[in-house]
Symmetry: C2
Subunit: 280 residues, 2 copies
């Protein structure tokens, strides 16, 4: 049995997003997992990253957020709300984000959770930096070994988010979150669970959506993650540019998905060696 | 002479981002433009979109943010801070966003500005919806005729954000902001001004960066916008999917850029008819 953290960002408990969060708790608990929920609106989460996060400043004259964040993390002077979320992340075997897509990204309160909880030394600035090595990120890092998943309600229609839809492909819209915020500190990212036309969900569609979501929750630890290429797995050169010949046949950001026939990964961390091929 | 609104999101006045904001004000003012700055951190902008935004609720039992937003906009019961920003947007001929790239998107406080200021009926839900018509958006809408530009400081190195860089291409990382938040309500979006390795900027590099930025400010009203395809200009079918044959030779989200030889646009709004070709 495993531990699951749900980070939930919706201002209305009765919303579809709220119902999915509740269904996730029910389903995962019924399977014997431990579940914690960070309900950001209910917690009145401080959304804005600012000087108030660092009562003991390294440099009182000029705020460099990353620098103060690293100092506070290293010296144990972080705000209590930040420490609590970091503890939950370390406790979790899987992290689920549940939120509505607002203006093609996450609600500000959830973005502010990332900004404040992802301290320097915790979620970035981890591992060896120097020469052609750019630290442990993208598949490695503090949160490696964990799974992550985005559950997102969307007002618009599915074709608008399709391969050639006017809004852009959903996988590319979610790139900053899935690749930049979940894969970056080390988590394996599961395919997202989007619900389109979420404002007009009929009872019939809810039954279907709930059934499909339940299956995704039941398979959270067995489904195959999105095969993002690890940074240090041999795919990128010393400038962090994808090596020639890789990503052929793909377009846009999908060149960063590992493919059959790619070089076998050789990460320094023992547990994740043949990831590229295993994931495809 | 024109009106320019700068929406600035950085917690430190002495930051590089702050210096660029100041340089924008100086340069534009020297040219005779009127400039207003919304300094979100200094204003203690309310970043979180929640029930407190609607003291007079249409539905007191369940918060549907879009619905209450539309009601408040229509009935003149929006919060004063939201109205003030909407007035600035209507006043402006150009809107510049200045911010650091945090976790591959804008700081939460700026995202929260979009969420609260972009009311239903103001920035979305505008124009005729029905049949194959999905309203006035993407090149049309309340903010049509205005220019917008992203000025973004980035801690990482340029190759990491290049065509095949590990972080993803900068134009695709900025897609939710540039296409989804600026072009959506009607603004023409100028190419962004990114500053890489912004944490380690030497005096020499600052001189170069400042000179290049000054030129961009001086040419704000004459440079060529990113040629995003307009929604209602004949590029997309009734399901809002890009028509066959368009976007050839491009990859990923760049299929949504107009190309030489595309059909001439025929928008219902008179001022913007031959946009696709004119923009290329």
């Amino acid at each position: 049995m495993s531990n699951v953290l749900i980070v939930h960002a919706h201002p209305e408990a009765q919303s579809l997003t709220g119902s999915l969060k509740n269904l996730a708790v029910e389903t995962l608990t019924a399977q014997g997992h431990q579940v914690q929920v960070s309900d950001l609106y209910a917690m009145h989460w401080k959304a804005v990253a600012d000087a108030a996060d660092f009562p003991q400043r390294k440099n009182a004259d000029r705020l460099r957020y990353a620098s103060e964040s690293g100092n506070a993390f290293a010296t144990g002077t972080q705000p209590a709300d930040v420490v609590a979320e970091q503890q939950k992340l370390l406790w979790a075997d899987a992290v689920i984000l549940t939120f509505p897509l607002w203006w093609f990204s996450a609600p500000a309160i959830l973005k502010g959770w990332v900004e404040r909880v992802y301290a320097h030394g915790f979620a970035y600035g981890v591992g060896l930096h120097g020469g052609e090595r750019w630290g442990d990120r993208y598949g490695e890092g503090t949160l490696a070994g964990r799974r992550a998943m985005v559950v997102v309600s969307i007002g618009g229609r599915e074709p608008h988010y399709s391969e050639r839809g006017v809004n852009g492909r959903l996988d590319e819209i979610l790139w900053p979150i899935q690749h930049g915020q979940l894969f970056y500190p080390g988590m394996d990212v599961m395919p997202p669970f989007p619900i389109y036309q979420s404002d007009r969900l009929s009872e019939e569609r809810w039954v279907e959506v709930a059934a499909a979501f339940k299956v995704r929750m039941e398979n959270l630890f067995t489904d195959t993650p999105i095969p993002y290429r690890t940074q240090n797995g041999g795919h990128y050169d010393g400038q962090q540019v994808l090596k020639p010949g890789l990503g052929s046949g793909e377009t846009g950001l999908r060149i960063h998905l590992a493919q059959q026939g790619d070089p076998v990964e050789n990460l320094h961390s023992a547990e994740s060696q043949p990831a590229a091929l295993a994931r495809v």
